[in-house]
Amino acid sequence: MRAHSNTLNKRELEKLYTEFEKEALPHMNSLYNYALRMTGSEDDADDLVQETYLKAFRFFDKFEKGTNCKAWLFRILKNSYINDYRKHVKEPDKIDYEDIQNFYETIKSDEVESKHYEQDAFSNLLDDDISKALTELPEDFRTVIILSDIEGFTYDEIADFVDIPVGTVRSRLHRARKMLYALLFDYAKDKGFAPKKLSKRKTT
């Protein structure tokens, strides 16, 4: 805000606000949902979205008109999350992809029939279990799976938001779902919803 107040007069500032209102505010729902899933907390999501919008307005004169405002806002939110939020929050232990890959090989070597994937073991899990599993994913993987499977964005859009190639989006998404599957399978097994035969084996 101070950045503008030193350089713009009242009329210019109000014009900037009107443009900001038209361009940036319609994307608040998407940003809020993303923040909610990244942080796992309504309060933190509130803070993160508010911080994002205040920063976005502060630097709105730097936003290139005609480009993707939603992607620009997502990048600000992601940076705010990394720089501000994550610094103050103890990250939960993250799972290791190698570990998951090993689990996956175990499934295949057990020659499991595909009905194991189709049966509804996960439907008995609570939303909180799924949220918890989601927060256990490494951040880069969590980001793409949220944007794709919860927000419904295409690979191209995600690539634009996160600033990575489309191929990387696809690769991360592929791995993220497998990691999440393994985590949820463990939760379901612990609660007796899934066959005990399959278990996530640790890499030795």
Binding site: M1, H4, S5, N6, L8, N9, K10, L13, E14, L16, Y17, F20, E21, L25, M28, N29, Y32, N33, L36, R37, D43, D46, V49, Q50, Y53, L54, F57, I107, K108, E111, V112, E113, S114, Y117, E118, F122, D127, I130, L134, I145, S148, D149, I150, E151, G152, T154, Y155, G167, R170, S171, L173, H174, R177, K178, L180, Y181, L184
Partner: protein, 281 residues
């Protein structure tokens, strides 16, 4: 593209080439491991989509964001004076110039009395009458410690208290800080001519009470039922904090963002300063 990642693209309807799509469909039908891969991808995708319905931004958050942006748009639009850094820079450029030194000394001399305890006491003495914010804060606080004023809302979470204020119609941004050593107990909302005002109460492990009363400074303009003296407003606007020791109680008044905040406690003033004010940012 790796075959398994192609399966992911297929599950996401990201493939366009009908030949590739046909080949993958055939593989999924015939190859158990490919089928398993496809089912994992689509099962997780559907699960997340079903379980996490898109949530709308809460109204209070939209409102708060818009207010915060708009306040700064409409209230600080035209910088008529250069900012502090520019003033200092200007003086540094002519640092040996006598006139500049005289002006700097004058500014220092003028600002020193505003921070002194004497000024604080003088200003405190001028605050009288039932409409005075400081008087109201003191009276409310005495009512709280005598058990005459009960909480309207109980919560130990400052964010719940802020939400409560918002939901109950407090029309300005409120602050309820988290302070180690002080636990928020809850809130009270009072009303003057239909305007809702926010009060929050804290307690420490010794059972001491700290009461925080805050109003938007605009509410003090020409309001016969809520006021402060002009000198005190000016003092607070210049960054001063009014601090009063009164028998076993302490009172502090300061400006926080756009709010005038009155704090009253039966702990000592030093404790209020070190354990509470430092967290009121």
């Amino acid at each position: 593209m790796e075959l398994l990642e192609e399966i992911t693209s297929f599950a996401d309807n990201e493939l366009k080439d009908p030949v590739v799509i046909g080949r993958l469909k055939k593989l999924i039908r015939q190859d158990e491991s490919i089928r398993a891969e496809y089912l994992i991808q689509s099962r997780i995708k559907n699960l997340l989509n079903e379980r996490f319905a898109h949530q709308a931004v809460p109204d209070y958050l939209t409102d708060r964001i818009i207010k915060n942006i708009y306040k700064n748009t409409s209230d600080k639009p035209i910088p008529t004076l250069p900012n502090k850094e520019l003033i200092i820079e200007r003086f540094l450029k002519v640092r040996y110039e006598f006139t500049s030194l005289v002006i700097l000394l004058f500014i220092l001399l003028v600002s020193i009395p505003f921070n002194s305890e004497k000024t604080s006491e003088m200003l405190a003495l001028q605050q009288t009458g039932k409409a005075n914010l400081l008087v109201q804060a003191q009276n409310n606080f005495y009512d709280i410690i005598r058990g005459k004023l009960n909480l309207h809302f109980n919560s130990s979470d400052p964010k719940d208290v802020i939400k409560y204020f918002y939901n109950k119609g407090v029309a300005y941004t409120t602050v309820v800080p988290r302070c180690p050593g002080w636990k928020v107990e809850g809130a009270v909302i009072s009303e003057i001519d239909g305007i809702k005002l926010a009060h929050s109460i804290y307690k420490n492990s010794k059972g001491e009470i700290l009461y925080l009363y805050q109003v938007d400074e605009k509410m003090l303009n020409n309001n016969p039922k809520l006021c402060l003296t002009g000198d005190l407003c000016k003092y607070l606007n210049n960054g001063g904090a009014l601090k009063i020791k009164d028998k076993n109680c302490s009172f502090v008044m300061l400006k926080h963002s756009r709010n005038i905040v009155a704090i009253a406690s039966n702990t000592n003033l030093e404790n209020v300063e070190t354990s509470f004010l430092t967290y009121l940012k």
